[in-house]
């Protein structure tokens, strides 16, 4: 095939660079703003375009000095770790159980798939969580979304494509179903486990809707709720003024962006280790079925 013309080649490079810039720039901007001093933000009319001339960590000191943001971060970490563990446990057991033709396997699978076609609505879900006594508890953030049907399908599909002869051989050697799961299936499924863990963990970390619905006490709020309160609703950030007394108060805008940065950084930290799996057909396999 002929090589693309120079004009096409240049247009392509420009397009790729623009796309990457549009994705990356917002992150650069919030990090730069969070590191800026009040004076510099005011001098620039509110905009730090690339990097502050004299970076300062005042904003981070302010939000980590205790108070609302630190607590919200702890809550988010806790809910993410416990929630993801519960998600994975329930999804793995169900996906493994239905990865082989077992008694009642078909109706159970149908039951799961049907939930993808029909949602039961916000109000009945809300009333159910209330009726179960989960309102205003962290369990309300975890239990109603325990298994994602999509994640379940991806995992089940992966399990079904593992070499079944291996399991037959193990069974003949006297291994039970549970041992096959723990010693053969899971070690062979690292890729799919990594991807699904990332999906669940990110969903828990970003969980906003469930906190809005079910958490009444502001003291129980996870990070996204606090982020919304400070950045989007413009509430002054609850800074323990005693902790920063004597120093100039950091810029409000810098503090707001610091809260955004601490919400983003944990995702940025796990993403590079897990993203290489996305291209390995782990996901598309399930869709093509």
């Amino acid at each position: 095939m002929e090589a693309p013309s120079t004009v096409e080649q240049i247009a392509k490079v420009v397009a790729v660079v623009v796309v990457c810039f549009l994705v990356i720039y917002p992150f650069v901007n919030i990090i730069a703003t969070s590191l800026s001093s009040e004076a510099e933000i005011v001098a620039n009319g509110g905009v730090i375009s690339l990097f502050p001339t004299r970076p300062t960590l005042d904003a981070y000191q302010a939000i980590f000095a205790g108070g609302v943001v630190s607590r919200a971060m702890l809550v988010s970490f806790g809910v993410t770790v416990v929630g993801t563990a519960c998600n994975m446990l329930a999804t793995i057991t169900l996906a493994y159980a239905l990865s082989r033709p077992i008694v009642a396997g078909r109706p159970i699978l149908m039951m799961v798939l049907l939930t993808m076609l029909f949602g039961s609505g916000i109000i009945p879900n809300f009333l159910l969580v209330n009726a179960l006594g989960l309102y205003n508890t962290y369990a309300a953030l975890i239990l109603p979304g325990l298994i994602s049907a999509f994640n379940f399908l991806v995992m089940r599909n992966f399990f079904m494509n593992l070499p079944q002869e291996l399991f037959e051989a193990a069974r003949i050697d006297g291994a039970g179903d549970l041992r096959i799961l723990l010693q053969l299936v899971l070690p062979l499924s690292k890729a799919v486990l990594a991807v699904i863990t990332l999906f669940y963990a990110v969903a828990q970390w970003n969980a906003f809707f469930s906190s809005l619905l079910y958490l009444q006490d502001t003291s129980k709020w996870p990070l996204p709720m606090v982020l919304r309160l400070y950045v989007l609703q413009g509430q002054p950030v609850g800074i323990d003024s005693a902790a920063v007394a004597g120093e100039a108060l950091p810029s409000i805008q810098a503090v707001q962006m610091a809260v955004v940065v601490v919400s983003v950084v944990p995702i940025l930290c796990v993403y590079p280790f897990l993203q290489r799996y996305f291209t390995k057909g782990v996901l598309t396999g399930a869709i093509k079925g």
């Binding site: 917002p26 329930a90 008694v103 039961s120 298994i147």
Partner: protein, 313 residues
């Protein structure tokens, strides 16, 4: 979603139920938590929809609240409901027209990058926004497109009026589309890239030998190769046409006002959970669910008529 079917093993002597129960004992036990979850959190709330036909009172509960027949359905004629329905359809159509093709174009761009290293880097970059929650995305937009943001600064510096996209009801649809494209068009490329890979290379060679240039190969080989995937995704999108995305809209509804920003999901939330109109709001949710289901079934039928598999057979 098509799933690999468990073909029934051709067993000559099918073991008795009791034998199979004993054989699958552990597997069934492992399935219990998952089955319980789907029953309790998906099927029980489905039954909870009965309060669409009741005057639900919290202290009476599901069972004892009085039946009111179809009284709650009067909400379907209220202007506030109709407005939110109209907005929902408007955003859904805009998303279909603008957000749906974006990943296809991006996938074509990515697949045309020849160096594997560069391609992988670009993929890693464009997938990233998918993992940002809506609160983060809206916060980023506030910083870039809001009243004190970069865009306002730039337009101000050029002597134009300072643009604030975050609180302007007239440009709200544009904002919604921009956010959606930024967040998810990169992630959306995954399925199209896989489809592009599965197109037979010989078809390109044959077309090239027949004298088809790059554009004609795109139109006559690449795009037809993508049709099954596009149809599949269109069907799935049709089914969720009345769910344009809860978090994105509830986060921004107040800054642009209800007339421009209310969609069905936010309407159910504010009318039901905030104002306590349980019955009527459940009606809205129920109608939305039924319409979504009918749309999926209908679209799937349509795909079969076009000779495509759709999401199931």
């Amino acid at each position: 979603m098509a799933t690999a079917s468990q073909a029934p093993a051709p067993e000559l002597h099918r073991p008795s139920l009791r034998t199979r129960l004993r054989r699958d004992k552990v597997m069934l036990l492992l399935a219990v938590p998952g089955v319980l979850f789907f029953v309790v959190f998906h099927y029980v709330p489905l039954l909870g929809n009965v309060i669409a036909f009741k005057d639900y009172q919290a202290w009476l509960g599901f069972v004892d609240s009085p039946w009111v027949g179809f009284d709650n359905f009067a909400i379907l004629a209220e202007p506030a409901f109709l407005r939110s329905l109209f907005n929902t359809l408007k955003f859904a159509v805009l998303q279909l027209v603008f957000s749906f093709p974006a990943p296809i174009v991006l996938a074509l761009l990515i697949s045309s990058i020849m160096r594997p290293g560069v391609r992988r880097f670009v993929q890693s970059v464009v997938y990233l926004p998918h993992f940002m929650g809506w609160v983060i995305v809206v916060s980023l937009c506030q910083q870039l497109l809001g009243g004190t943001g970069v865009l306002a600064h730039l337009t101000g510096a050029l002597g134009l009026p300072r643009i604030d996209l975050m609180t302007n009801p007239d440009t709200y649809p544009l904002l919604i589309i921009l956010q959606g494209v930024w967040k998810d068009s990169g992630w959306g490329t995954i399925i199209f890239l896989a489809a592009l890979l599965s197109i037979d290379g010989e078809q390109y060679e044959a077309a090239a030998i027949d004298g088809a240039g790059r554009w004609r190969r795109l139109v006559h080989v690449t795009l037809p190769g993508l049709v099954p995937v596009i149809l599949l995704l269109l069907i799935l999108n049709l089914g969720t046409i009345l769910s344009v995305g809860f978090e994105q809209f509830i986060l921004q509804r107040d800054s642009v006002g209800a007339p421009a920003g209310e969609v069905l999901d936010t309407y159910v939330y504010f009318n039901g959970i905030v104002d306590g109109q349980w019955g009527p709001s459940t009606v809205v949710g129920l109608v939305k669910g039924v319409v979504g289901l009918l749309l999926i079934l209908g679209a799937n039928k349509l795909a079969h008529l076009f000779g495509q598999d759709g999401i199931y057979r």
